[in-house]
């Protein structure tokens, strides 16, 4: 069902957890499946220095979170905001069709985390 990249990220997810001193934190849930994705970021010089994720969700959700953290580390805020859920799925080599709509929340959670960071900056 899942390809090898997905299975790898599911089995050995990168950057799991929650940054203790996060600059921004985002949490989104899928209304259809009840999945939850949480992303915390550390930002310096307008770049994402560190990122961690937590997931309550299926294998695809876990792999998406893991892949996202790899994709986003070191990127500028502007670059990070351009990452979409579709790009995460693509980086994973594709996800099964029924999984696309519900388990692919990682980019959204990241964007929430960035919004949170920006709000704190401005506030």
């Amino acid at each position: 069902m899942y390809n090898d990249i997905v299975i790898d990220h599911f089995t050995n997810p990168r950057n799991t957890g929650e940054l203790a001193d996060a600059d921004g934190s985002g949490k989104v849930g899928s209304p259809t499946c009840g999945d939850i994705m949480m992303v915390t970021i550390k930002v310096a010089d307008n770049r994402i220095q560190d990122v961690k994720f937590k997931t309550f969700g299926c294998g695809a959700a876990i792999a998406s979170g893991s892949m996202l953290t790899e994709m986003v580390k070191g990127k500028t805020i502007t670059e990070a905001l351009q990452i979409t859920d579709a790009m995460v799925a693509e980086a994973l080599g594709g996800l099964p069709e029924p999984k696309l709509h519900c388990s692919n929340l990682a980019a959204s959670a990241l964007h929430e985390a960035i919004k949170d960071y920006q709000a704190k900056q401005n506030g």
Binding site: Y2, I7, F10, T11, P13, T16, G17, K27, T32, C33, G34, D35, I36, M37, M38, F53, K54, T55, F56, G57, C58, G59, A61, I62, P98, C102
Partner: protein, 392 residues
């Protein structure tokens, strides 16, 4: 890697003795039972043997009360549509909220397209129907009560005798979907008092693609498939002889192995349940602790999602399921757990482990170890923490 198959409620591996029979009826005894020549007559006689073997397993009064179908699902459809559309005009059906989709979706079709009224009885926290609720629901136009013998997801055994007695008293026909109960429980249609019963070969080490409906003599039922008049007019189509003969053999083996088989499964099941509940914090058993199928363990783990659990188990060689094997790919929480009042989150973290003939004590211990480790790993990065949402 060790491979452990704990999804015997989804389907079982065909027994070697059964395979042998199936092969014989493809290669040597290949006649059509409707043919008058010797090739056909041999097979016609064999068909009667298979009927007898199935009849004996459930203690039917005679082989003529057994009708072969193409699946348990078809038998369920035949039972319900066959009664409701038999011309007597009664259009009310009573069933439960925890039935298999073969029953539920058939009832929905009858509601939507045939002017039927269906009462879906609730269940308690164990998934059990209250016989008193059946009595209350029976109306003048009730054609049929259909309550499953035992649930396929949580394993809870229903109070079939009590319900059947009420139906008998009220003069209403009673059907039971015993696809999961047959082979594990000492089912006796006469003592149980049911009028119709569904079973399926592939749950008892027979081949997929054949089921049977027991119909007590005298019950008037209409076919849903028309044609050459096979199965005494109730199910036309050339009989699936290899699979039917396999079902017959599987039924015979099941009868001979009961009740030892049930006892052995119960011991292994309890070892599994106790082991898991002890080892994994914030885990709980779904379904009745005692009135449950010998082969069924269904456990919810807080804060982890069932599909991820299954995937990780699968990568460790363990085949399990969450809820019923469902072909739609949907991940909606199981209708059974929902009807039992289990929270959506607990429902989503449920795993069904169903034991079988080949399950060993070592398989059980390996499963406990693996599952405990898998849950721990997944919880470590769950945003809900190990206790789950309601504890946060």
């Amino acid at each position: 890697m060790r491979r452990v198959y704990l999804d015997n409620a989804a389907t079982t591996r065909v027994a070697p003795e059964v395979v042998e029979v199936v092969v014989a009826y493809m290669q040597d005894k290949y006649g059509n039972p409707s043919s008058v020549h010797e090739f056909g007559r041999t097979v016609r006689r064999s068909l009667q043997t298979a009927r007898q073997q199935v009849a004996e397993l459930i203690n039917a009064n005679c082989p003529g009360e057994i009708y072969f179908t193409g699946s348990g699902t078809e038998a369920d459809n035949l039972a319900i549509k066959g009664i409701v559309l038999n011309g007597e005009g009664k259009r009310h059906i009573i069933t439960s909220a925890v039935e298999h989709h073969a029953i539920l979706h058939t009832c929905e079709d009858l509601e939507e397209n045939h002017g039927c009224r269906v009462t879906y009885l609730p269940v308690n926290g164990y998934g059990m129907v209250d016989p008193a609720s059946v009595r209350e629901a029976i109306a003048d136009d009730t054609a049929l009560v259909s309550i499953m013998y035992a649930n396929n997801e949580v394993g809870t055994i229903q109070p079939i005798r009590e319900i059947a007695a009420i139906c008998r008293e009220k003069g209403v026909l009673m059907h039971t979907d015993a696809v999961q109960g047959v082979g594990q429980l000492p089912i006796d249609v006469q003592a149980d008092g049911v009028d119709m019963l569904t079973l399926s070969a592939h749950k008892i080490y027979g081949p997929k693609g054949v089921g049977a409906l027991y119909v007590r003599s005298g019950v008037k039922i209409r076919p849903i498939i028309h044609g050459g008049g096979q199965e005494r007019g109730l199910r036309s189509g050339t009989e699936g002889i290899p699979a039917i003969m396999g079902l017959g053999k599987a039924a015979e083996l099941a009868r001979l192995r009961l009740p030892e088989y049930g006892e052995r499964l119960t011991r292994l099941r309890d070892r599994l349940i106790t082991g898991l509940l002890e080892r994994v914090p914030y885990s709980c058993l779904n379904g009745h602790p005692v009135k449950r199928l010998p082969a069924n363990a269904n456990i919810s783990f807080s804060s982890v999602e069932g599909e991820a659990l299954l995937l990780d188990l699968d990568l460790h060689g363990i085949a399990a399921s969450s809820g019923s094997a469902c072909s739609s790919g949907s991940e909606a929480p199981s209708h059974v757990l929902t009807a039992m009042g289990v929270s959506v989150e607990e429902a989503r973290g449920s795993v069904r482990l169903t034991l079988g003939l080949e399950t060993s004590a070592e398989d059980i211990d390996y499963t406990i170890d693996t599952l405990a480790a898998v849950v721990e790993r997944l919880r470590a990065f769950s945003p809900l923490g190990e206790k789950g949402a309601q504890h946060v």
